[in-house]
């Protein structure tokens, strides 16, 4: 980055601009484990400072990469072309909770769990609950349209964003959306910004929909002999007209992975587990819990555990929440995909994955939001064996093709980002030379990609915001 640009930023932010190597290292990674050093890290405290940073970026042509907690799984917050990482950590105020009109106004750096807690205190509920909710931020959730465990009943982040304030790539501030329950004036810019991975605008404030807090909830862990049995149980539950607020599946390897962090007793022959949750009134929860247990047992569950108090439920949930990081203990590199297929095709997908793992001789761990048909397919490799890496890449490609064939999507919640982009290989070594980006076209078609690129041009004509993400070939500034 040009020294002049750095000093202009320094004048603007004072000690809230850091460019020591140590700070840059600390903002060079996210949960993908990949690393790219930024030239500096900015810690603005309000929307005006964000705007000033973007204006400077336009003047001096350096990239600005927004970052929440850096918990993303697709490299969205990595400064692949250098420039400034703009951390929202200091913009973490919950501005208002409106119990009458049922919404909250927050700054982007608010940690998801903190909003949920504040809502809970007001007797309200902010449903989105990615497994990273204790550290991921609302800004990051919005930019990735994070889903979560309860998406099957409550939907994903998108369904709770009423309106946004965002700084565009031009340095202009837009306000989108409404604070009312309805609103249909003009294009839905809110929806466009949700899931845009920090490439169209930097969210500086969000108005989020809240719902009444359910009276009660209960959690069940049911252990099955295999994935097919779990999937059948999921379908039986849907057929029984219960809508659990979570239906999470974990295969045997996933369960084994977390035994150290969250031990459970496994009956002989356990091949998969379902974590189920229901919420509602005290009566409905009691009735539905019984019904769920019955359905699971009828579907061949080897054991069912129930918990209705907070600590007990937390303990069961810990099992699920620990999986993803714990995979690191088995293999240093994971190709982490989050495909979605129609629920009716889930069993076929699992069968295909088992066959694929055998045929390509790679280790695949599967877990995820069975209720949504969303599976986290993790291919675990050493990263040092070229042949194994090639086999794994081939497997990912097959998974994607099969997913699209089945009428599914290649990313349910993590977004496109840069994950496994070809240049990663060049810059950080052999990680697997494929990207989701070529598959982007496979899913949305060439015209879809072209319209998306034109939109990007409207929001960010100079390519300031998060260059190198989503579209691989996009021309953009370099720091």
């Amino acid at each position: 980055m040009h020294p002049e640009a750095l000093s202009a930023l320094g004048n603007l932010l004072g000690d809230r601009l850091r460019s020591s190597l140590e700070t840059r290292i600390c903002y060079s990674y996210d949960a993908t484990g990949n690393r790219f050093l930024p030239d500096a890290v900015a810690f603005p405290v309000d929307a005006e400072e964000v705007r000033q940073v973007v204006l400077l970026a336009n003047r001096h042509r350096f990239p600005v990469v927004p970052r929440g907690a850096g918990s993303g799984f697709s490299g969205g917050s990595l400064p692949v072309r250098g420039g400034v990482v703009l951390s929202t950590e200091r913009m973490d105020r919950i501005v208002a909770i409106d119990p009458v009109n049922l919404y909250a106004v927050v700054e982007p750096g608010v940690v998801t769990e903190n909003l949920k807690e504040a809502a809970r205190k007001a007797g309200l509920f902010y449903p989105p609950d990615p497994a990273s909710l204790k550290f991921s931020t609302i800004g990051g959730n919005i930019a990735e349209c994070a889903g979560g465990m309860c998406a099957v009943k409550y939907g994903v982040t998108r369904d709770y964003v009423l309106g946004l304030e965002a700084v565009l790539g031009t340095g202009e501030t837009v306000r989108t959306g409404v604070t009312t329950a309805k609103g249909v004036v003009g294009y839905d810019l809110t929806r466009l910004l949700v899931g845009s991975e920090g490439t169209l605008g930097i969210v500086t404030r969000a108005t989020l929909r809240l719902v009444p807090l359910p009276q009660a909830a209960a959690t069940l862990l049911a252990l099955f002999p295999g994935n097919r049995a779990s999937v059948c149980a999921v379908n039986a539950i849907v057929a029984a007209r219960i809508t659990p607020s979570a239906m999470e599946l974990m295969d045997r390897t996933a369960i084994d992975c977390v035994q150290a962090a969250a031990p459970v007793a496994l009956p002989e022959g356990t091949g998969s587990a379902l974590l189920l949750e229901v919420d509602g009134t005290v009566e409905s929860v009691a009735r539905e819990t019984d019904l769920l247990e019955e359905t699971c047992r009828a579907g061949g569950a080897l054991a069912v555990r129930r918990a209705s108090d907070a600590p007990g439920r937390d303990e069961l949930w810990k099992l699920r929440r620990s999986i993803s990081p714990a995979l690191r203990r088995i293999a240093p590199v994971k190709l982490n995909e989050d495909i979605v297929v129609p629920r009716s095709r889930l069993a076929d997908m699992f069968e295909f994955l088992a066959e694929l793992a055998e045929r390509r001789r790679v280790r695949i761990v599967n877990f995820g939001h069975a209720g949504d048909g969303n599976i986290h397919v993790n291919i675990l490799i050493s990263g040092t064996d070229a042949d194994e890496t090639r086999r794994a890449e081939g497997a990912v490609e097959e998974v994607f093709r099969r997913t699209v064939e089945m009428g599914g999507t290649i990313s349910g919640e993590h977004g496109v980002g840069i994950s496994k982009a070809p240049f990663l290989e060049m810059e950080v070594g052999p990680l697997g030379g494929i990207s989701k980006a070529p598959f982007l076209e496979m899913e949305v078609g060439p015209l879809g990609v072209s319209v998306m690129k034109r939109l990007k041009g409207c929001f960010d004509p100079n390519g300031i915001l998060n260059p190198g993400k989503i579209f691989l070939d996009e021309a953009a500034v370099r720091g």
């Binding site: 850091r18 020591s20 190597l21 140590e22 700070t23 290292i25 600390c26 903002y27 060079s28 990674y29 996210d30 949960a31 993908t32 484990g33 810690f43 907690a69 850096g70 918990s71 951390s87 950590e89 200091r90 973490d92 940690v111 769990e113 990273s132 204790k134 550290f135 991921s136 977390v258 150290a260 962090a261 929440r321 620990s322 993803s324 990081p325 714990a326 995979l327 690191r328 203990r329 240093p332």
Partner: protein, 428 residues
């Protein structure tokens, strides 16, 4: 950085960010460099020759309370404390100890040869109002720059606890009491209370008189050589005394003997077996009182009065790392009955962090003030705990935010219970 063990330890971090949720320091700093993930990344970068400035990494590693919360929350069991301590030690070798500490460092205790360092230490100690404390004591590590700086300083008693013991008192016994330097020199009443109540078990009890510092302050400062010297000396003497069990009123000292010792005396060390012997016999104060029968001799606690006014603060190492929180609570319920109540934010770190308090007193006290005022708001009048550092810190903080809050060791409450002097616990 060179330590080959470090690479294997840092390699386990998945960069997930879970450690951000629990870090004691993060809310103060609001920057990734404060949390475990950042520190691990820095060590990693240094190991892979990326060449960040060693002094700055040292600075980042020193900026940590070693409260262990990140490690306990980590889904990958990344040994963060070990990484931070090893990293500090490695950098201490490479570039020396941070300037703010160097005056007093190391040699103070176990190396009689280091006369120059000891002399300087003693000189500084006088300045520190610690003249009465032997320079070999770990206290000197804790206040390297002097006690001042706005702190409420405990008035040092004329005589330490061990010196006040009569000659024939406690020379040999099946149970050994490791008092720790704070409870010996600064709060001898705690030492005395621990001693008297441990004796109530009916066992013969000896006070470990020639203890070296447990070594924790040196170890966390990256001075592994001094820490090893302390630890080895203690292990040798304790092994020779052949006690049935060794009781620790201070959670930090206990951590040293039960866990950290093995990073200083690994399997290959000839003292390893002795260290295992000592570790196996080292118990926390509350567990000992509960299991030794002393608890059965406690009179029944009074009922119903002043419900919930006595709280318990969980020392990070004792409750968190060593998992002894339930024992302390059980003991308190037996000793003071309904007067014990769960205190607001009981398991939040008090912000002391050993040398952290010396390094960044303003931050340390902000964390501590929040802790004590939350407890007071929740109705706690007496904060009890079982770690010397926590007592030092919370007394200082109580003096700042609410002088009516008293901070005591659980042994003092147990002693009051034995003597029937219950009122004393609350009034004094």
């Amino acid at each position: 950085m060179r330590d080959p063990d470090l690479k294997a330890l840092t390699g386990l971090c998945a960069k997930c960010g879970t450690c951000r949720t629990v870090c004691t320091l993060y809310p103060e700093r609001k920057a990734e460099i404060a949390v475990a993930r950042g520190k691990v990344a820095l060590v990693d970068a240094a190991l892979s020759g990326e060449d960040p400035d060693a002094a700055s990494i040292q600075e980042a590693l020193t900026d940590c309370l070693l409260c262990g919360r990140c490690e306990r929350a980590c889904p990958n069991q990344v040994l963060v404390e070990e990484i931070v301590m090893k990293g500090r030690a490695d950098l201490a070798e490479e570039i020396g100890i941070p300037a703010w500490k160097s005056v007093l460092f190391g040699k103070v205790m176990a190396s009689p040869a280091a006369t120059e360092a000891a002399r300087m230490a003693a000189a500084a100690a006088e300045r520190l109002l610690l003249a009465k404390v032997p320079t070999r004591s770990g206290l000197h590590y804790r206040f390297p720059e002097g006690i001042g700086g706005g702190r409420t300083v405990p008035e040092l008693p004329a005589k330490g606890f061990i010196r006040s013991l009569r000659k024939r008192e406690a020379v040999s016994g099946e149970t050994m009491l490791f008092v720790g330097c704070v409870f010996d020199h600064v709060f001898p009443r705690v030492g005395r209370a621990a001693y008297e109540t441990v004796k109530a078990s009916g066992k013969t009890v000896a006070v470990f008189r020639d203890a070296a510092c447990c070594g924790l302050p040196a170890m966390v400062s990256g001075d592994r050589r001094s820490a090893s010297a302390c630890v080895e000396e203690n292990i040798r003497r304790l092994r020779a005394a052949d006690p049935g069990e060794i009781v620790f009123p201070c959670g930090s000292c206990l951590l040293m003997f039960r866990r950290n010792v093995f990073s200083l005396i690994p399997r290959a060390n000839p003292l390893y077996e002795d260290a295992v012997f000592v570790a196996d016999r080292s118990v926390d104060y509350a567990s000992f009182i509960l299991s030794s029968g002393a608890v059965d001799r406690l009179p029944d606690p009074p009922e119903g009065e002043r419900v919930g006014e006595i709280g318990y603060h969980d020392p990070c190492h004792l409750s968190g790392t060593l998992g002894k929180g339930p024992q302390a609570r059980e003991l308190l319920s037996r000793a003071v009955g309904d007067a014990f109540g769960e205190m607001a934010g009981a398991d939040r770190c008090c912000g002391y962090g050993g040398t952290f308090n010396a390094r960044d007193y303003p931050t340390s006290s902000r964390i501590g003030e929040n802790k004590v005022s939350a407890a007071a708001r929740g109705g706690t009048k007496v904060v009890s705990t079982a770690c010397s550092g926590c007592i030092l810190q919370m007394r200082d903080m109580a003096a700042r935010v609410d002088p009516s809050v008293r901070v005591v060791h659980i042994a003092e409450l147990v002693q009051y219970a034995f003597s029937g002097e219950r009122e004393g616990a609350r009034r004094r």
